[in-house]
């Protein structure tokens, strides 16, 4: 499969990237790792006139402590999140979730910012960042703004990003002292989640977030069983709505059990 023709502009700085995106308007798309966008281009499901390659912008790939948050640069690859010693120690949930994305080759290329901006309803990361109550830093022509992950996902492949804005950082609270787990259900190892569940346990408080049970991730704090029963997943080849609703409950049990362990 071969994509339609497009122009590629390489941005060497964030400012340049924002300018190029602004110039391109609606016909421009940002290209980071490319693992969400390039498959769509090849199937001609997307046909932008211009791609702005942001993959080489310096200084957007990092994982570091920043005040009471762990800050992750938008261009940080899934493999780096997966293997981060800092995250393993202080926010294992994110590392564990990243390790479940696609396969090694995909994780070597795909980025945290790209995946969140793409907002696939069966992606793994959205469940984790919603459970974590992470913040997503968006930078646009009018400067930076901080978005709550819990308000970021708006619909099928839709986010709170404004046209011309890019994700530049993801900020997660450390889970020091809390238990967590991400449990994913799929039929074949490398695939998207049919349903995935991220769970955090702090003392008696249980937080659960699901992916794959609607167009956007779903958060449950408190009575997650009740929340699970109200889910309205979309039935498709991978399972009926009823089955996915059932899976959401099973996975929550399992994720919470592991989080407590």
């Amino acid at each position: 499969m071969i994509s339609s023709a497009f122009a590629l502009r390489r941005a060497s700085s964030l400012d340049e990237a924002l300018r190029l995106l602004a110039e391109g308007g609606e016909d421009a798309k940002a290209l980071a790792g490319g693992h969400s966008l390039i498959p769509l281009l090849k199937l001609r499901l997307a046909a932008p006139e211009t791609l702005v390659d942001i993959g080489r912008i310096e200084g957007l790939s990092y994982i570091r402590e920043d005040g009471d948050r762990i800050a992750i640069g938008a261009l940080t690859r899934h493999a780096d999140v997966e293997c981060s010693e800092l995250l393993a120690r202080r926010c294992r949930l994110l590392a564990e979730t990243a390790a479940e994305i696609g396969d090694i080759q995909v994780r070597n290329r795909g980025t945290i910012g790209g995946s969140l901006a793409h907002a696939d309803p069966n992606a793994d990361l959205p469940a984790a960042v919603v459970a974590l109550d992470a913040e997503i830093v968006a930078t646009g022509p009018n400067g930076q703004r901080m978005l709550r992950a819990r308000e970021f996902f708006r619909g099928l492949l839709e986010t709170a990003l404004e046209p011309g804005e890019l994700i530049t950082e993801v900020r997660v609270p450390p889970l020091d002292g809390a238990g967590s787990a991400y449990v994913k259900f799929n039929r074949r190892a490398q695939d998207w989640a049919i349903v995935g569940c991220a769970a955090i346990v702090r003392g008696e408080a249980e937080t659960v977030a699901w992916t794959g049970v609607g167009w956007t991730p779903v958060l449950a704090e408190g009575d997650w069983r009740e929340a699970a029963s109200r889910l309205e997943p979309v039935g498709d080849l991978s399972g009926s709505a009823e089955y996915k609703r059932h899976l959401a409950g099973v996975l929550a049990e399992r994720a919470l059990a592991r989080a407590r362990a």
Binding site: S4, E100, F185, A189, L247, L251
Partner: protein, 822 residues
């Protein structure tokens, strides 16, 4: 595999079912005696492939070559309106846009199958004329200077489709008022194949037990990892055609290209270079092959290349299976089977490809499996629908046969409270050769032996005891058996003729001994992963004493090989290997005459061993093969009537099929909460007659079983009611990864075939034929239900478990599903 989601946090994993993790075999390079028959000699094919130096079709580039891209129907059924290529022609790099009006064909894509003599074989033009009947049907082709321009051109061609009603399921297709595909096939019926033993109805009328089950053998997509591709050139000055194509049957392609294009067959050269898997999907000739040659011809001889995308592969390359079967098994209360009735609706898709109705015809022939069943009735209705044609997919009709009889036998065992192993023993055929209910002559077999060996290796009794214990703890653990026989070594030509296959079943070989003692073997088989170059060289070493490494094997190029039928149906060794054996024996006998003449000994008094002839009783009096080769070449002292040189050709037509058999055992555990099935142990005991290379045989079993596990648990080609294929990518059509497939334990018994002097049978399809029943029987056993249709995706299994929790499941079908259409 341990699966994070499947692991039940509170409970321990079921213990004791895991087979031994396989020991790392020592690299074997042949026995001290060499690399001949029976040794696990490493493959000579590998050196290029592991270094990235293989040559597949898309690796081939000819000077001035243009790229082709097809315009394909996006709708399943329509009258074809205007084709507007104006916009496409303006795209830089686009050289031509060609439709049916621009390309001349003498005929349609050939079908070589007419089991009943009156099968409807509607013409399918390589490019659609007037009407399209499936999504993906080629309508026009764009030739351009680059891949990119060709793709842009194809996307810019505008075609009018006046849509017609669509039918996708075989059961819907035969209903009153169903949309009709072909005028010449009223009721969408291609043919109805019927067979019954004498007075079948009377014979089964009084049976004590009758087991009925509807079994859906779902539609599958073969998915060779290399999609198809062609590079074609037509030389206008001479009319010569050169066609590189990813095929299992280069000679068929050569013959049919000459017929469809209308040129002398002597001018057509077809080359199958390295071929990246076939599994039957490349046992065919396809529209794109004819269109590529015709396009080169229309473009004054410019070479053209077409490389199939995966999406095209999922739509335009054949599919497999798609049988809806209604089966009835008649038996005594003691579990002795007295009769079997099998009615099949076989979905042919929109057109017939090469073998269409012959595939379910093979199901008919093998319907009674390993059992001594005197009374058999089978009816197969082959029907057209607005879907991709079905044809030979690994096993081709025999997996469908094995699956249904093995399912019914298990249901019978369950109804009668007899152990599945025991009920099989009560019904095995035991005297060989055995004439089956369909009149096939099973050449040799020992079904008890493979069953007993399998049960011994898995520790069956202990396994059952531990299963009971696990069940008591609430675990859903199952043990499934599949005892199978398949028909291979296709085929005696008198039989292919009799069953309406328009091609014979012989195979050819040439053995050319060079003056330096090196050997070229030219074979009519066309391997694509089976390792013929290795196995054939092993046979040469054993038969002529010429070292394995001194043998080169040429295949897949019609300019070099005598006519050959190709590689499919687990036939290559039994038929092509035997052709080679006979050529080698001819060389040996000629050599014997030369030695006898030169040493003045009676040929009968010569013995051959270790590459040397010598007089019986006086080993010092003899000639080495190298000396004989020199003598045959120098030709100065040959016996009267013996021609110079050492080169022999054989065309071997087998006197019978071969009948490999075996017993597979599968142990599964089902996750009660999610319905996910995990295979904790898989054991295959196969008997494929004499083994040339055990390593290669094991590899064939591993791959076949994995594909069959794919069918049992993961794979299904799904259409929506508009005839859109919902599984046209490898994201949606799920072939398993390394994580889903367990280690496959293999074991063999060796019951030589009397059909050929090598005693070989064939192993390419055994795994695929045996395994679905083993897996499904295991899961049914785990759940304590009679039947489940494939694939056993978690939701389907979970729903059954839900039902179990509510009420004990009664006998009879639990869940059924339209033939690949839901």
């Amino acid at each position: 595999m341990a699966d994070p989601a499947a692991a039940e946090p509170e409970g321990e994993q079921f213990e004791g079912f895991q087979g031994e993790s396989p020991q790392l075999p020592e690299a074997e390079v042949g026995t001290p005696q060499g690399k001949g028959i029976g040794t696990s000699t490493l493959r000579k094919e590998d050196a290029e492939l592991i270094a990235g130096q293989g040559r597949f079709v898309d690796d081939i580039r000819l000077p001035g070559m243009l790229y082709l891209a097809f315009v394909r129907s996006p709708v399943a059924h329509a009258t074809l309106g205007a084709i507007d290529a104006a916009r496409a022609r303006e795209i830089p790099g686009v050289i031509a846009v060609l439709s049916a009006e621009d390309l001349h064909f003498e005929g349609g894509v050939p079908c070589g199958s007419n089991p009943t003599g009156d099968a409807r074989q509607p013409t399918r033009w390589p490019l659609a004329r007037n009407r399209v009947r499936m999504v993906g049907e080629p309508v026009a082709v764009v030739a351009a200077e680059t891949r990119h321009a060709a793709a842009d051109g194809a996307a810019a061609v505008e075609v009018e489709y006046d849509q017609l009603p669509v039918v996708v399921g075989s059961e819907e297709a035969v209903r009153e008022g169903a949309p009709q595909l072909h005028e010449e096939a009223p009721g969408n019926l291609c043919c109805s194949i019927r067979y019954a033993t004498d007075r079948f109805d009377d014979a089964v009328a009084g049976a004590e037990v009758v087991v009925r089950q509807r079994v859906v053998n779902q539609r599958l997509t073969p998915v060779a990892i290399e999609p198809r591709g062609v590079v074609a050139q037509f030389q206008p000055s001479t009319g010569e055609v050169t066609l590189f194509t990813s095929t299992q049957v280069p000679h068929f392609v050569k013959t049919f290209v000459s017929v469809v294009i209308g040129t002398s067959e002597a001018k057509v050269r077809v080359i199958a270079p390295d071929v990246g898997g076939g599994f039957g999907s490349k046992l065919n000739t396809y529209a794109e092959e004819y269109v590529a040659v015709a396009a080169s011809k229309a473009l004054d001889g410019v070479p053209v290349k077409w490389t199939e995308s995966r999406q095209e592969n999922m739509l335009a390359t054949i599919h497999g299976r798609d049988h809806v079967q209604d089966a009835e098994l008649y038996a005594t209360r003691e579990g002795r089977i007295v009769g079997f009735r099998l009615n099949v609706l076989a979905n042919m898709g929109a057109y017939l490809q090469l073998l269409g109705p012959t595939i379910p015809h093979l199901t008919l022939f093998m319907g009674t499996g390993v059992y001594d069943i005197a009374n058999y009735s089978c009816r197969i209705d082959c029907v057209f629908t607005n879907t991709t044609p079905t044809d030979a997919y690994r096993g081709a009709g025999r997996p469908e046969a094995t699956h249904v009889i093995e399912r019914l036998v298990d249901i019978l065992a369950r109804r009668l409270g007899i152990d599945p192993a025991e009920i099989r023993r009560r019904n095995f055929i035991r005297e060989f050769p055995a004439t089956s209910a369909t009149g096939l002559l099973y050449d040799s077999g020992d079904y008890d032996k493979t069953l007993d060996r399998a049960l011994e290796l898995v520790g069956y009794d202990e396994l059952r005891a531990r299963q009971a214990e696990a069940r008591a703890r609430g675990k859903l653990v199952g043990i499934g058996l599949s005892t199978y026989v398949e028909v291979c070594g296709l085929a005696p030509s008198s039989v292919t003729k009799a069953i309406g296959v328009g091609a014979p079943g012989w195979e050819s070989s040439t053995v050319r001994v060079h003056p330096t003692g090196k050997v070229t073997v030219v074979t009519g088989t066309s391997p694509h992963g089976q390792g013929h170059a290795t196995s054939w060289s092993q046979i040469v070493e054993t038969e002529l004493g010429i070292p394995f490494d001194d043998v080169e094997v040429i295949h897949g190029d019609t300019a070099f090989a005598p006519y050959g039928l190709g590689t499919y149906g687990s036939r290559s060794l039994a038929v092509g290997g035997t052709a080679l054996y006979h050529s080698l024996r001819k060389v040996r006998e000629k050599a014997r005459k030369i030695v006898a003449h030169q040493l003045e000994i009676d040929p009968e008094d010569l013995e051959f061993g270790d590459g040397r002839f010598h007089a019986k009783g006086s080993p010092e009096r003899g000639m080495t093969m190298a000396e004989v080769i020199g003598a045959a070449w120098s030709a100065d002292n040959l016996p009267e009537g013996v021609e110079p040189g050492l080169e022999e050709t054989t065309f071997f037509d087998p006197p019978n099929f071969t009948f490999p058999f075996g017993c597979h055992v599968c142990v599964t555990e089902v996750d009660r909460e999610t319905g996910k099935v995990e295979i904790s142990r898989y054991l295959a005991v196969d008997d494929c007659g004499r083994v040339i290379n055990p390593m290669i045989v094991d590899g064939q079993v591993h791959g076949g079983v994995a594909q069959s596990i794919g069918q049992a648990l993961f794979e299904e080609t799904v259409y929506d009611e508009d005839g859109q294929c919902l599984t046209a990518s490898l994201v949606d059509y799920m072939i398993p990864t390394a994580f889903e497939i367990p280690f496959i334990e293999t074991e063999r018994t060796e019951t030589p075939s009397p059909t050929n002097p090598l005693g070989v049978k064939g192993i390419g399809e055994a795994g695929t034929i045996a395994a679905t029943a083993a897996v499904v029987n295991s899961v049914c056993d785990a759940l304590g239900v009679e039947h489940l249709d494939m694939p056993l995706q978690p939701e389907r299994v979970w729903r059954v478990i839900q039902g179990l929790d509510e009420k004990p499941v009664e006998a009879g079908p639990l869940e059924t599903k339209g033939g690949g259409t839901s």
